[in-house]
């Protein structure tokens, strides 16, 4: 060990100094989050591979068209898998990460420094956004190359895709952070996220055609955002004629924006009111 510079900066005068800006700290948090994610090869491989493998398996198993429509089933569930990709990279990945960092003491340490709390969330949000953009690009790529999905032709559909994607990333990230508080230990974090994620993907029209699900299940699913995200993505990638196969016989863009917006606000409120910088196992 070697000597360390004194506590007084120069001439024994401690000027308060200038605090670094929130924007620059948010940027450096984002870079750090992305580095940490992409250096963990297993995490990268499995995060990206899960939806792609599901997509390919379903593509090999199911043929034919969605009943009463002209739309091949493969195209139908590819839109659902894109939704699952967004949920995996934001809700599950980000939420589990926050829960783990709460329990290993990272958040507690952070709270003891002048690092603005916003910078931490900026870092999480940016990494969630980057990873979900990549995931979506990969799923679109395999969908178009192998499963006959066609990329939208009109600017209007791209615009729908853009707002839907951003809103979905915001909702899923906030919901992930909100749910992270439920995990009472680092060990329980993955299951806490697996439960809603798996159940919702089965009732929201990802794997099964939503219009063919029992009414009761449709009603339950309609309370949660995934059903609306899937429906929105179908409106981007499937022909307009498919809207007739939806329970409401239309794409319901207004309702989609409303439900996702409400979930975003509710999750934000829960985050602000319940977010803890220490795990219960640490703050005795």
């Amino acid at each position: 060990m070697t000597a360390i510079s004194p506590a007084q900066h120069r001439n024994g005068v401690n000027s308060p100094g200038n605090l670094p800006s929130v924007a620059s700290l948010g940027l450096s948090s984002s870079i750090l989050e992305l580095k940490a994610f992409f250096r963990n090869r297993e995490r990268v491989a499995f995060t990206f591979a899960l939806p792609v493998v599901l997509q390919l398996i379903f593509g090999m198993i199911f043929h034919g068209k969605v009943a009463g429509t002209n739309v091949p089933y493969r195209e139908y569930f590819t839109t659902g898998i894109i939704a699952v990709g967004i949920v995996t990279t934001t809700f599950a990945n980000l939420g589990t990460g926050v829960a783990l960092e709460r329990h290993d003491g990272t958040l507690k340490r952070l709270a003891g420094t002048p690092m603005p709390k916003v910078a931490y969330f900026i870092g999480k949000a940016v990494s969630g956004l980057v990873v979900s953009v990549l995931e979506t690009a990969i799923l679109l790529g395999t969908g178009v190359a192998l499963l006959g999905l066609s990329v939208p032709h009109s600017a209007g559909r791209w615009l729908t895709f853009a707002w839907l994607f951003v809103l979905a990333v915001v909702v899923c990230s906030l919901a992930g952070v909100a749910l992270s508080g439920v995990a009472r230990s680092a060990q329980s974090a993955p299951v806490v996220f697996q439960f809603p994620y798996l159940i919702l993907s089965f009732i929201s029209g990802v794997y099964f055609v939503f219009g063919s699900l029992p009414k009761a299940i449709q009603d339950v699913a309609a309370v949660f955002p995934l059903k609306w995200l899937c429906q929105g993505l179908r409106s981007v990638f499937l022909p307009d004629s498919f809207a007739r196969a939806e329970p409401a016989h239309s794409w319901q863009h207004g309702e989609i924006a409303l439900v996702l917006g409400l979930w975003a606000v509710a999750s934000l409120v829960i985050c602000v009111r319940t977010f803890r910088w220490q795990g219960r196992d640490q703050a005795r």
Binding site: M1, I4, G12, N40, D104, P114
Partner: protein, 298 residues
């Protein structure tokens, strides 16, 4: 003491967890530039006191002022809270992030949040992690992580540094090196408040010690005078032809002078002893070995 001479001031501090009173009316003053140790057994309330001062925990009663501000307000964020945070350094009892970032990256990242931080490479050298600067956090040993904790605590060039049981789990050599680092920080003007249950650590590092047990201050003073051990009754013993003799006295010098006259110079096997810090400490926290032998304790 004027306001500027005191780095940390606690008056009548109280904290309860349900039915348990963890801190039961504590007064403390830590002067600027000194190393102050909270010494006490596990569960004495040390961590609770320190974490209240760090702004991590709420209190149920009393006043706390750390660098002139109430830590209970530090949680509210904002510029004032960030400036206050930038003047203190915290080394927590447990927990370092692990993962894929390198040691240098994490130290640089934390450094960047302070207005007048130390050079990250200088800090890594000071804690002996230069050779591990490029290593990923998950590859560090327990001791190396602990040194990283210290590096993250001091990189912001704090005026006041909190260390909560900093050397638990260190091997003897690592402890010595750590003590040197802390002495170096102290000589550089950093005020240090540490908790420890190691007596030798308090004796080596601390200018003043408060012994805490069951949420109360049992004694306070320099390690040498703690609990009045500098003026406690001494034991003088020596070797005579018929065996070993000893006598307890408040005036050991006079006894030694008398013995010296009697033996005509050197006194064979002469020792003069006062209670060790350990004796005093065990008495203060109410678990003196004598009590155990008499079946009083436990």
């Amino acid at each position: 003491m004027t306001h500027t001479e005191v780095a940390l001031r606690v008056r009548g501090l109280r904290k309860r967890y349900g039915a348990l009173t963890a801190v039961d009316g504590i007064d403390l003053d830590v002067r600027r530039g000194e190393v102050f140790a909270l010494l006490g057994p596990n569960g004495a309330g040390k961590t609770t006191i320190v974490e209240i001062c760090e702004g991590y925990r709420s209190r149920d009663g009393g006043e706390v002022s750390v660098l002139g501000a109430d830590p209970a307000r530090a949680d509210r964020g904002g510029r004032g809270a960030r400036l206050w945070r930038s003047r203190i350094g915290i080394v927590l009892q447990s927990g370092t992030e692990s993962g894929e970032l390198t040691v240098r990256e994490i130290v640089r990242h934390y450094a960047s949040s302070y207005p007048r931080h130390r050079d990250p490479d200088e800090v890594l050298a000071a804690v002996g992690l230069t050779g591990k600067a490029g290593a990923r956090l998950r590859h560090l040993s327990g001791g190396q992580r602990r040194r990283l904790d210290v590096a993250l605590g001091v990189v912001g060039r704090p005026e006041l540094l909190f260390l909560d049981e900093p050397t638990t789990g260190f091997d003897p050599e690592a402890r010595r090196q750590f003590w040197e680092l802390i002495s170096g920080l102290s000589h550089g003007g950093t005020t240090i408040m540490l908790t420890t249950h190691y007596l030798d650590e308090a004796e080596v590092l601390a200018d003043r010690v408060a012994v805490i047990a069951a949420g109360r201050v049992r004694a306070e003073g320099t390690p040498a005078e703690l609990g009045g051990r500098d003026v406690a009754t001494a034991t003088v013993s020596w070797q005579a032809e018929d065996g070993r003799h000893s006598t307890r006295t408040d005036t050991p010098s006079a006894v030694v002078a008398e013995l010296s006259r009697r033996f005509g110079g050197e006194v064979p096997g002469l020792t003069v002893s006062r209670p060790t810090l350990e004796d005093t400490y065990l008495q203060l926290i109410g678990s003196h070995p004598g009590a155990t032998r008499n079946g009083v304790h436990r």
